[in-house]
Amino acid sequence: MFALAVLAAAVRAGTPVLLATLGELFAERSGILNLGVEGMMLVGALAGFVATVQTGNPWLGALAAGAAGGGLSLIHAVLCITLRANQVASGLALTIFGTGLSAALGRKFVGVPASGFPPEPVPGLARIPVLGAVLFQHDPLVYLSYLLVPAAWFALYRTRWGLEVRAVGEHPEAADAAGTSVAGVRYVCVAIGGVLAGLGGAFLSTAYTGMWIENMTAGRGWIAVALVIFATWDPLRAAAGAYLFGGVNALQLNLQAAGARLPVYLLLMTPYVFTILVLVFATRETARKRLGAPAALSVPYTRSG
C-alpha cells in the first residue's frame, strides 16, 4: 500500500514538471533556449491560483495560468527572435522578473486556501488493480498531461508543422530556403512553452498544494530544463524523466512523513542531486550516441548571405 501511494504521489509530483518539460521541449526543438521556465511557472501558479480563488472555477484558473505563462514567454520571444538578443541572458531575466513579479503581486494571497480540481477517478479504468490506483484516480489536469505526451509526439513526428519545427531547430537556413517562416514557427513554440509552464505552475498551486507561497516551484522550472536534455528532446522520454523525478520527490516526502530517521533537509536535497546526476548521465549518453541538441539551439537566426 505504501508503494502504491508513493507511485500515485509520483504521478502527481511529476505532472507539473512534465508540463513544463514538454513546453520547454517544443521551444528548444525550434531552436530557442528559454531558461525562464521557473519564472513562467511561478507567474502561472499565481495567476491560476488567483483566478481559481476569485471565480471558484479551476478551469478558468488553468486558462489564466496558461495565458500568464504564454504572455510572459512572448517577452522572451520578442527579445530573442525578433531582436536576436542573447537567449541565456533573456531567460535569466525572465526568471528573475517572473519570480519577483509573482512574489510582489501574490503577497495578498499568502495563506488563502484554494480548492483546485477535485480528483475524478476515470470510470472503469480506475478499477484496474494497481494501475488504476496509480494512474486513474487523479484530477483532470493530470489526465490532460497524459494526453499531451502522445499528442506532442504525434505533432512533432507526424505532422507537417512538426517537421517544420524540427527543421527550424536544426538548420534554420534550410527551413527558410524551403519557405518556412522561421520566426513564425519559433514564436509559436516559445508560446507553447510558456502556456505549458504556466499550466504546470497552476497545477502546483491549485491542485497539488492548494495554496500560494512565494517561490513555491523551488527550482522545478530548472529541473524541467535539465529534463529536456535527459529526454534528448523527445516527448516520450520527457515523460519518463518527469515521472522519475516525481518518484524521487514523492519518495523523499513520504519518507519524511513516515518518520524515517533521515534529516529532513538532506532528504529535500535529493531531487536536486538526482537532477544533476541525470544531467551527467544524459550528457554522456548523447555524446556517446551522437544524438544531440537541436543544432541551432540558442543561436539567433539572421537571413544572411
Binding site: 519564472g39 522578473f97 503581486l105
Partner: protein, 365 residues
C-alpha cells in the same frame, strides 16, 4: 512603412546610452506594475530613491549592499568572459558563509587575532569548491554548467537550513533558526565608525582591480579572452580549455564565497537564513550591465545596491515584499537586452530593403 534594418556594427552611441536608457525604461515599466500591485508608483519611487541617497547613512548602507554585489558580479563576469555561465554565485556565497561560520564558531582560531583572515580564506575556499564541482563536470564531462551551478544553489540553501535547524542551532535563540553569534574576534572590522561599512569594501575593490589585471595583463587573461571570443581558435592555438574552465570557475567561486564570508562575519554576525536577498542572482545583472568589465562592475554594483536598499525601505513603509526589487531588476535587465539588440539596428522609413550583415564578418558575396 517603418522597418528595422541591421547595421554592420553596433551604433557608436550604444555603449553609453543603452544602460542609462534601459534603466529608465525598466523603472518606467515598473511604475505600471506598482500600480497593478495596488501601490502608488510615486510613493514607491520616492521611497526607492530617497533612502539610499538621502542621507550619509543611506550612502553607507548602499555601500554595504554594494560590497557583496561587486564580488558576485565579478563571480559571474569572469567565467562569462569565457562564455561560461556561473549562476551559482548565490550558493557559493552561502557556502562561504558556512565556512566562515565554521571557523568562527567551531575552531580555536575563531577567538584569536587570526580569526578574520582565516574565515575569509575559508570562505573563499568553500566557494571555490562549490563552483569546482560544476566546473569539473563541464571541463571533463561537457555537462552544461548553467544548470548545474543553479541546482547547487538550492542544495547550498538547504545545507544552511540543515545546519541552523540542526547541529549548529543556537540554544539561546528561542527556536529561531540561527547559529550562535560569532565571537568578537571573528567579526570583520568596520571601516567607517558609526556605519556598517566594513573592510570587505577594500577586498571587493581589490578583487575588481585584480580581475581587471588578470584579464588585461596576464597570459591567463589572454587565454580567457581568446576562448571567449572563439573557442575553436583557442583550441587551434593550443590553449587548454579544461584547465581554464577549472581555474576561472574556481576563482569565481572563491569571490562569491568571499562575499558570503563577509556578509556572515560583518553584517549578520552569525549564520542565518536570508543572509542574501539574492545577491548571487543580482550578480548576473551586475555583470551584464557592466558589459563584463570588472571595473564597471563596481559602479553598477553601487547602483543596484541602492536599489536593494530602497527596496528594504519599501518593505517597511509600504509593506511590499523585497521581491519587488527582483521584479524591477528583471525589468531593467529586459530593457538592457532589448536596448542592446536595438542598437544593432537602425530605423528605416519607407520601402526599405532586406539587408545582409556587412562584409566584415563574412566572406564577400
Amino acid at each position: 512603412m517603418i522597418r528595422l534594418e541591421r547595421r554592420a556594427s553596433p551604433a557608436p552611441w550604444a555603449a553609453g546610452a543603452v544602460p542609462v536608457v534601459a534603466i529608465l525604461a525598466g523603472l518606467a515599466a515598473g511604475a505600471g506594475l506598482f500600480a497593478l500591485a495596488g501601490v502608488s508608483p510615486l510613493a514607491a519611487y520616492a521611497g526607492l530613491l530617497s533612502d539610499p541617497f538621502g542621507s550619509v547613512f543611506g550612502w553607507s548602507e548602499t555601500t554595504v549592499k554594494a560590497i557583496p554585489l561587486i564580488l558576485t558580479g565579478l563571480a559571474v563576469l569572469l567565467p562569462a568572459r569565457m562564455r561560461l555561465w556561473n549562476i551559482g554565485a548565490e550558493g557559493q556565497l552561502q557556502c562561504g558563509a558556512i565556512a566562515a561560520t565554521w571557523v568562527a564558531l567551531w575552531t580555536p582560531l575563531g577567538r584569536t587575532a587570526g580569526a578574520v583572515p582565516a574565515l575569509l580564506v575559508a570562505g573563499m575556499a568553500a566557494g571555490a569548491v562549490w563552483c569546482l564541482v560544476p566546473a569539473a563536470l563541464r571541463a571533463w564531462l561537457a555537462v552544461n554548467e548553467t544548470i548545474t551551478t543553479l541546482l547547487m544553489n538550492y542544495i547550498a540553501v538547504l545545507l544552511v537550513s540543515f545546519l541552523i535547524y540542526g547541529s549548529w542551532k543556537d540554544p539561546q535563540s528561542l527556536g529561531f533558526p540561527l547559529s550562535p553569534p560569532f565571537p568578537a574576534a571573528s567579526r570583520l572590522w568596520v571601516l567607517l565608525p558609526g556605519t556598517r561599512v566594513h573592510a570587505g569594501l577594500l577586498l571587493a575593490l581589490a578583487a575588481s582591480a585584480a580581475v581587471w589585471l588578470i584579464l588585461a595583463r596576464t597570459r591567463w587573461g589572454f587565454e580567457i579572452r581568446v576562448i571567449g571570443d572563439n573557442p575553436q581558435a583557442a583550441r587551434y592555438a593550443g590553449i587548454s580549455l579544461a584547465r581554464n574552465i577549472v581555474l576561472t570557475m574556481g576563482l569565481a567561486g572563491a569571490l562569491a564565497g568571499l562575499a558570503g564570508a563577509g556578509e556572515a562575519s560583518a553584517i549578520a554576525g552569525r549564520l542565518q537564513q536570508g543572509l542574501s536577498p539574492g545577491y548571487g542572482y543580482t550578480g548576473i545583472i551586475v555583470a551584464w550591465l557592466a558589459r563584463l568589465n570588472p571595473l564597471g562592475a563596481v559602479l553598477v554594483a553601487f547602483l543596484l545596491g541602492a536599489l536593494f536598499l530602497g527596496g528594504d525601505g519599501l518593505q517597511i513603509s509600504l509593506g511590499l515584499p523585497i521581491a519587488v526589487v527582483n521584479m524591477l531588476q528583471g525589468l531593467v535587465f529586459f530593457c538592457v537586452l532589448g536596448g542592446e539588440a536595438l542598437a544593432g539596428y537602425r530605423l528605416v522609413l519607407g520601402r526599405g530593403r532586406v539587408a545582409a550583415p556587412g562584409p566584415a564578418l563574412q566572406e564577400p558575396p
